[in-house]
């Protein structure tokens, strides 16, 4: 061996952290693991349940029915000519993807303590796989949505999609980035401060009501107190939900400013998530 090779170290294990240490080469090397995790998640979730993947369908349907009863029949919230059930189903479909990504990745460290304590692989693989495997659920739920869409069309409801449908992949990306970003931030915090698990539980629930899921953004601006309306408007999630309904049902409003605002914020939150997550992964096993 020549001495010139002696300085070519493959990698260094040390206590020092780089700020953004997302090693794409390494993640690429572990791509098979990512796919296997996705497969595992999909295959094993509903093993030994009677209804199996039907649960994917039942959850949003029942929630939509309840929302329609409470908010539209009882609360008289106007959905602008769209059948309220369909309106709610669209919102819930989008929300539940975000919600699943968030809650799935927010206990990454705690749930995988066992694996993480024994072998190394890029930890980001875990939350990434959750985001990907939740896509399946999303597409099944979208299928249900399309089914009801066609049903309502056949009964003569006045429905149409919007040219914004082309933005669908970007909306998907934004939801994934937001869910993943916030989830990673929370997962890092739960390793040290367990209070966070409690906060996440009901926090997400509350956030849904502040994200224009069961009502259109215009109603919020009209009826909420000033500061709440501002909060709901600037909440990137209500932008996404509203945008989602806009392209699928041509209802509500859309602005490019709002779109870019949401996109930028999603990317920023995702990057913050990565930074915090990387900081945590190096030493979490000592504090978990």
């Amino acid at each position: 061996m020549s001495t010139s090779h002696d300085d070519q170290w493959l990698y260094t294990i040390s206590s020092k952290n780089k700020l953004i240490d997302l090693n794409f080469k390494e993640i690429w090397r572990y791509r098979d693991l990512l796919l296997l995790f996705v497969k595992r998640d999909i295959v094993t979730v509903y093993k030994q349940t009677i209804l199996g993947p039907l649960w994917y369908v039942i959850q949003p349907l029942f929630t939509s029915v309840i929302f329609t009863l409470v908010f539209n029949n009882l609360g008289n919230i106007s959905t602008g000519g769209i059948p309220p059930f369909l309106f709610n189903l669209a919102g819930i479909t989008a929300w539940s993807y975000f919600n699943n990504c968030l809650s799935g990745s927010s206990d990454t460290f705690k749930k995988n303590e066992n694996i993480f304590g024994k072998v190394y692989f890029p930890r980001v693989i875990m939350p990434m796989s959750i985001t990907i495997s939740n896509l399946l659920k999303l597409f099944i739920q979208l299928g249900i949505f399309i089914g009801f869409y066609i049903y309502y069309l056949s009964t003569g409801a006045n429905l149409s999609v919007n040219a914004n449908l082309l933005l669908f992949p970007i909306y998907l990306l934004m939801m994934a980035l937001l869910g993943l970003g916030i989830g990673m931030i929370l997962s890092s915090m739960t390793t040290k401060y367990r209070d966070m698990t409690v906060v996440i539980g009901f926090g997400v629930q509350l956030l849904m009501y502040m994200s224009a899921v069961p009502y259109p953004l215009s109603e919020a601006r009209k009826k909420f107190p000033e500061w709440v309306a501002t909060f709901v408007s600037y909440n990137p999630l209500s932008q996404i939900i509203e945008g989602f309904r806009y392209m699928l049902l041509d209802t509500g409003s859309f602005s490019w400013t709002g779109f870019f605002y949401t996109f930028t914020l999603s990317v920023i939150l995702f990057l913050i998530g990565i930074i915090i997550f990387n900081n945590t992964e190096k030493s979490f096993i000592d504090t978990v």
Partner: protein, 425 residues
């Protein structure tokens, strides 16, 4: 040979007590120091990792300034008592946790057999788990595919490979997991105590495989174990850890000798003194029990090839006739291996005063297990002087079991070396 891995000044600090109390204030303090570009204030405090002494600070060093180099193709052993820092070092090497100070540079991929079976999912079949587990350990799908049949065959689970792992017995699960791990091909392989898995037959296979890996295939291996025989069989060089510090580094034989002999310095091991073990009417008082080799060096770990001298010191306050001291050898699950008694010697009558009894356990009698020594004394049918009392723990290690060079443990509570002979007429 070129150096493939180099560790410089590796230290690891842990926090004692309840993590979570006061962490926020410590975290803020740390952050404040970092913002001003100063050192972490809590890295300065802390004491040596000696568990028997009560720490005077909230922080403890699990490892302190460890330096070593590994050459390509070398099998380096890392030995030390429980709590010496072996596992911490392995965790750092396998990147599960990061060191508090220092750095490790490596020229190859490190994979560990830290604990086999990590990430097995009970609902997936054996085959699916081979892929998942292999990928977790750093293999790509095509690498696993190429070795799939070999892995299945090695595990001996062919019939069940398409059955969910939750229906496997624990032994099968371990075998499958080890099979996957053994077929890894990293540049540096870290092995920790895997010798303990499986039944005797599988252990033999596993050790054979490890010998192949380290000898035949010329792989670099870091081998961490309590098993001196395995260390002697596999390693070319050994680092001895004690209380988080490297106390010896050198050739295997010297290192093992150092490790075994050095135990005499350690408090408690191999010797117990008693202050208040009396018989009910204070006729007898137990003073001290110790185990040592024949030259008198007190310790608790012995090779099978050594004779063990057990000394029992006690005090008699008035003449006693018919009393005996019994020493029972139990395994850790509490099963009795045998009892030996002093009745021939002490039954004749003992005068008041301090007596020193000695008992020699011949070499090649005990098995390679841990024994609990339980002492009692009394006059049969009349009175109990000393109720059964756990006095010492004895660890037996070995190089050769029944003439075989394999280091697996033989079943049984003892494994005496007996005379076999032919009588062919």
């Amino acid at each position: 040979m070129s150096i493939i891995l180099k560790a410089t000044n590796i230290s690891k600090q842990y926090r004692l007590g309840l993590v979570g109390t006061g962490t926020l204030s410590h975290d803020l303090n740390r952050w404040w120091h970092r913002v001003r570009g100063k050192d972490d204030p809590f890295l300065k405090v802390g004491s040596v990792n000696d568990r028997s002494v009560k720490a005077d600070s909230d922080y403890v060093w699990a490892l302190r300034d460890i330096n070593f180099e590994v050459k390509r193709g070398e099998v380096l052993g890392i030995i030390g008592k429980n709590g010496a820092g072996k596992s911490t070092l392995l965790k750092i090497l396998s990147r599960v946790t990061s060191p508090s100070t220092g750095e490790i540079k490596t020229k190859g991929r490190i994979a560990s057999l830290l604990e086999v079976g990590t990430g097995f999912h009970p609902e997936l079949t054996g085959r699916e788990n081979i892929y998942l587990n292999g990928a977790i350990l750093g293999m790509t799908k095509s690498e696993i595919k190429a070795k799939e049949n070999e892995i299945i065959e090695f595990s001996g689970c062919e019939r069940y490979v398409d059955t969910p792992v939750k229906r496997y017995s624990s032994g099968m699960r371990v075998r499958l997991a080890f099979a996957v791990a053994a077929h890894l091909e990293p540049d540096i392989l870290v092995i920790d105590e895997v010798l303990a898995v499986g039944d005797a037959e599988f252990q033999k296979k596993a050790i054979g495989k490890m010998q192949d890996i380290s000898k035949g295939e010329g792989r670099t291996v870091l081998f961490v174990s309590h098993n001196m025989a395995a260390v002697k069989g596999l390693c070319s060089r050994v680092v001895v850890l004690e209380n988080g510090m490297s106390v010896f580094e050198g050739e295997t034989k010297n290192a093992v000798d150092f490790y075994l002999n050095n135990q005499s310095n350690e408090s408690g091991a191999g010797s117990s003194e008693f202050k208040d073990v009396f018989s009910r009417k204070k006729e007898m008082q137990l003073l001290k029990v110790s185990t040592s080799d024949l030259s008198g060096r007190v310790r608790s770990t012995f090779m099978q090839s050594e004779s063990i001298l057990i000394k029992i010191d006690f005090k008699i306050n008035e003449y006693i006739k018919g009393m005996r001291v019994n020493m029972g050898f139990y395994n850790i699950s509490g099963t009795l291996a045998f009892v030996t008694s002093s009745h021939n010697l002490t039954g004749e009558g003992l005068n008041a005063g301090i007596h020193h009894l000695e008992l020699i356990i011949p070499s090649f009698l005990l098995n390679k297990i841990r024994y609990n020594l339980i002492l009692n004394a009394g006059i049969p049918g009349q009175k109990i002087l000393i109720a059964p009392l756990e006095v010492l723990v004895l660890d037996i290690e070995g190089e050769h079991a029944g003439g075989s060079t394999h280091v697996e443990r033989w079943p049984g509570m003892v494994s005496p070396k007996l005379d076999w002979r032919f009588n062919n007429l």
